[in-house]
């Protein structure tokens, strides 16, 4: 059993391939997480304009991209767009799909955070002479982010896990590289190794989140 699923020789042989994948997963995460945060922040800031002409299209946009499974969005871009003469390549498709999908999730979280700050604070800020943007920047956002920090972290965990979808469009991230190594060695060890790496990489975050969530739910009664 150990010979099959955790073969030391195969670990040694496939190590460079797997590590290259790990580096790409980290790199991909470092690109798509800020991209999603940025997209979400813009959505939430737009949503704070309480005009129905802004609010409704935003809600449609957010629900639209939350209803699509991320993989469907990715395939749509990767396999559909070339028919319109637009071949972006796997990496760009992942970046765009994530921007649309995770941006919508981050947007909902930021919006909840902004709404959690009492309106009186903005009014107080405005009355001392701060502009709308300044009030948002210095009074609302810092508190909003603190209030929804567990949700932001939880979504970030999901985004990092989602980077494994890159393997479907041949982005050489951890899962893709592990599958390559598996088909080269005729042995499942590289995939097991990849799973162990994901677990070790994300476990601390899961532990932290589990504490934060327990406290949040218990404190909200």
């Amino acid at each position: 059993m150990i010979q099959t699923f955790f073969n030391v020789e195969i670990i040694a042989a496939s190590w460079p391939i797997v590590v290259a994948g790990l580096l790409n997963t980290v790199l991909l995460s470092l690109i798509v997480v800020p991209l999603g945060l940025f997209g979400g922040l813009i959505l939430a800031l737009l949503a704070s304009v309480r005009h129905p002409a802004v609010r409704w299209p935003l809600m449609v946009w957010v629900d639209f991209f939350r209803a699509f499974p991320p993989l469907v969005l990715l395939i749509l871009l990767f396999a559909g767009l070339p028919f319109a003469g637009l071949d972006l390549g796997g990496f760009a498709c992942v970046a765009i799909a994530f921007f649309l999908n995770t941006g919508s999730y981050y947007g909902e979280i930021f919006r909840a955070g902004i709404e959690s700050v009492p309106a009186g604070q903005v009014e107080a800020g405005r009355s001392t002479g701060l502009s709308r943007l300044q009030a948002m920047r210095y009074i609302v956002l810092p508190q909003a982010v603190r209030n929804v920090l567990p949700d932001l972290l939880s979504n970030t965990l999901e985004v990092v896990k989602l980077t494994s979808l890159g393997s479907v469009v041949a982005v050489p991230e951890l899962l893709y590289q592990a599958r390559q190594a598996q088909s080269l060695t005729y042995n499942p060890t590289p995939i097991v190794v990849a799973a162990v790496i994901y677990f070790l990489m994300l476990w601390p975050l899961v532990r932290l989140l589990s504490r934060l969530e327990n406290r949040a739910l218990a404190g909200r009664r």
Binding site: M1, T4, F5, D63, F64, R66, A67, F68, P69, P70, L71, V72, I75, L76, A79, G80, F83, A84, L157, E158, K161, L162, T163, S164, L165, S167, V168, L175, R179, Q182, N187, P188, I191, V192, A194, A195, Y198, F199, M201, L202, W203, L205, V206, R207, S210, E213, N214, L217, A218, R220, R221
Partner: protein, 226 residues
């Protein structure tokens, strides 16, 4: 032919759409089957684990926490791939459908255990003690006093998580399950035309948009009072 006509002919080709409509509809059936199986088995297993955990048996709880953490930190696609491509080396060959179902059910189990457990612990200790002192057994207290309060609290986070994991059924495509995306992809490569993919995308919207909107309402209805 104008550009617009060419666009419509490529992405919304009537002939192709009509031809592959049955395939896509069949994909919808498979997606719904998968989703129902995942939700039922995942939530049941999650609740069972949370109840087991409330018995407060130390070594058992460590095991539960480890399992929950494991399935929360592994990407669902990695679990599916491991089952479908890995297990056959141990002479067990689950089909793509079973791999997708079990993997996502495990993930939902982990997330829902966490939420159920948070709900259970949120009920004040005094209520346990009060119920027990009136002569209710441990089981009665759990069923009649704690769970009704705990479950109400878990509805919003549970709904969101369940939807997110159910959307993962699309991952089945990777292991050759012909759910919506799988059916659409193979129809696309058979017809050299992206119209089936557009149909598949529309099918996802029809399935999930109502659920997302419903969840938004539920969230407001059961919102935590601050």
């Amino acid at each position: 032919m104008t550009t617009w006509d060419r666009f419509v002919d490529t992405f919304f080709n009537g002939k192709v759409m009509l031809k592959y409509l049955p395939d896509i509809l069949w994909g919808v059936v498979v997606t719904i089957e998968l989703a129902v199986l995942i939700v039922l088995s995942g939530l049941a297993a999650g609740l069972a684990l949370a109840l087991l955990r409330s018995l407060a048996i130390r070594p058992l709880n460590w095991l539960i926490i480890f399992i929950v953490d494991l399935f929360r930190s592994l990407p669902p696609l990695v679990i599916i791939v491991l089952m479908y491509f890995g297990l056959p080396y141990a002479e067990v060959s689950p089909s793509g459908f079973v791999s997708t179902w079990l993997s996502l059910a495990f993930v939902l189990m982990a997330f829902s255990e966490e939420i159920f457990w948070a709900g259970i612990t949120s009920v004040h200790k005094g209520q346990w003690e009060a119920s027990r002192s009136t002569g209710l057994s441990f089981g009665q207290t759990l069923m009649n006093v704690v769970l009704p309060q705990a479950l109400r609290l878990t509805i919003p986070p549970l709904t969101n998580r369940t939807i997110a994991i159910t959307k993962g059924t699309a991952l089945g495509t990777v292991v050759a399950v012909s759910e919506i995306l799988g059916a659409a992809s193979s129809a696309m490569s058979n017809s050299y035309n992206p119209s089936p993919l557009m149909m598949g995308a529309a099918a996802y919207l029809v399935l999930f948009l109502p659920v997302v909107i419903l969840a938004r309402r539920l969230e407001r209805r059961f919102a935590w009072k601050k």
